[in-house]
Amino acid sequence: MTTDFADGRMRLTVLGGYLGSGKTTWLRHQLHVGSFGPVHVIVNEAAETGVDDVLLAAASGLTLLAGGCSCCTGRQDLIDALRGLCDQRSRKASDEQRLQRIVLETSGLADPGAIVAAIQGDPVLVNHIVIEQTIVVVDALHGLAQLQTEPLGRRQIGAADQVILSKVDAVDPASLTLLRATLRALNPSAPQSAAVLGAAQPLPDLAPDAQAPALPPLSDDDTRGTIFPTRLKIDDSIDWSAFALWLSALLHARGNDLVRVKGVLPTPAGRLLLQTVRKVVQSPEILPAQENQSEDGTIVFIGRGFRQEDLQTSLRRFAGRPTGLGQKT
């Protein structure tokens, strides 16, 4: 019997990716080999009729939300379905086996960031569900073309904790490298892996100097500038409380321009993994100690028009140890 997580909440994995990128194929294989264990799957289809639910029969429970993308028009249906699962689970006796994991397969038109925001903004769900990770599947064949033209494709990559390249057997190594460099430029913090029909494939390390082709600005991106990643080194003078104070203020004032923040910081309780998607901050998680902790204290910011030196100065002057901050009039 699987035991409850220490905090008693369920773990939710959001599976996103563009239309036809291979989300269902990947998930079907994972269910077949049991990578998630007993899991309830929620499938969202933007169209009125669902077909994916037939393919995913290996799940221990399945909910189909058809006719409305759950990041926008179908959002309430998603919240209701998740609340229903929470209710069912709460009614079970403590010694019965209870649902531990949910996988949400979004429609290809969904922005995973908006779904994460909706779930974390719900007062009931936040007590029952922890969003564990956002996996985004990228079509190795068509991914680059989509990223060139589709703002949604770029938003999906920006929201990913992990990127899975599908159909890698159908592309030549050079174009795969090009796509991977582009993905790295859009979201340097998301590890990349590969799969063919859902089965994991080895992926060579991406050369650090691999150049990404320049992505044209899109009309849907507004004119305030392009989204680009920045890295911020947090030194010893800024502790976690000070950083959280600064970041919470920054998210309040500039959250709409800040697509993603991710990094690991030292705290009294251990190494803390921090992740945000736009204004929403996922419950920070304590990570086990590792041998290689050289990346600790480096925070990746993906946002619109954030200059590294501005962020560094602002952090120091806003939240650092006493500086000569004059009285503002």
């Binding site: 905090d7 909440r9 007062p123 936040v126 007590n127 502790d239 976690w240 409380s241 000070a242 959280a244 104070l245 600064w246 970041l247 919470s248 203020a249 920054l250 998210l251 309040h252 004032a253 500039r254 910081l265 705290t267 009294p268 309780a269 251990g270 803390l272 921090l274 901050v281 996922q282 419950s283 920070p284 304590i286 954030f306 501005d310 962020l311 100065t313 602002s314 952090l315 002057r317 806003f318 939240a319 006493p322 500086t323 000569g324 901050l325 004059g326 009285q327 503002k328």
Partner: protein, 97 residues
């Protein structure tokens, strides 16, 4: 839900993570309130956390007080009181003296 204060036992605000023991939590609260107070004072606001009741007390210099649950609420309340958000990328925070 706490019988006395009516605050639901929600998983803590993200800014309060990273402190596991009651001692660490209390230390972090005092530390956070001190840092916050330093930021707010130039704007004519003060912050105080006595460590007893949940939440952070905000006061204006004229004595108006409110208690807000967490840092996100602090910035929202400060924006309401000031009529504009406190922006860490405001030029005042970007120039070294």
């Amino acid at each position: 839900m706490c019988n006395a204060c009516g605050n639901p036992a929600v998983p803590g605000h993200w800014t309060e993570a990273g402190a596991d023991t009651p001692g660490d939590r209390l230390r972090a609260r005092f530390h956070r309130a001190g840092l916050l107070d330093k930021v707010l004072r130039p704007y004519g606001l003060t912050a105080h956390d006595g460590g007893v009741v949940p939440g952070i007390q905000l006061s204006t210099l004229s004595g108006n007080q409110s208690i807000v649950p967490d840092l996100s609420a602090v910035w929202a309340e400060a924006e309401r009181l000031l009529g504009r958000p406190i922006d860490p990328l405001d030029p005042v925070f970007l120039h070294d003296d």
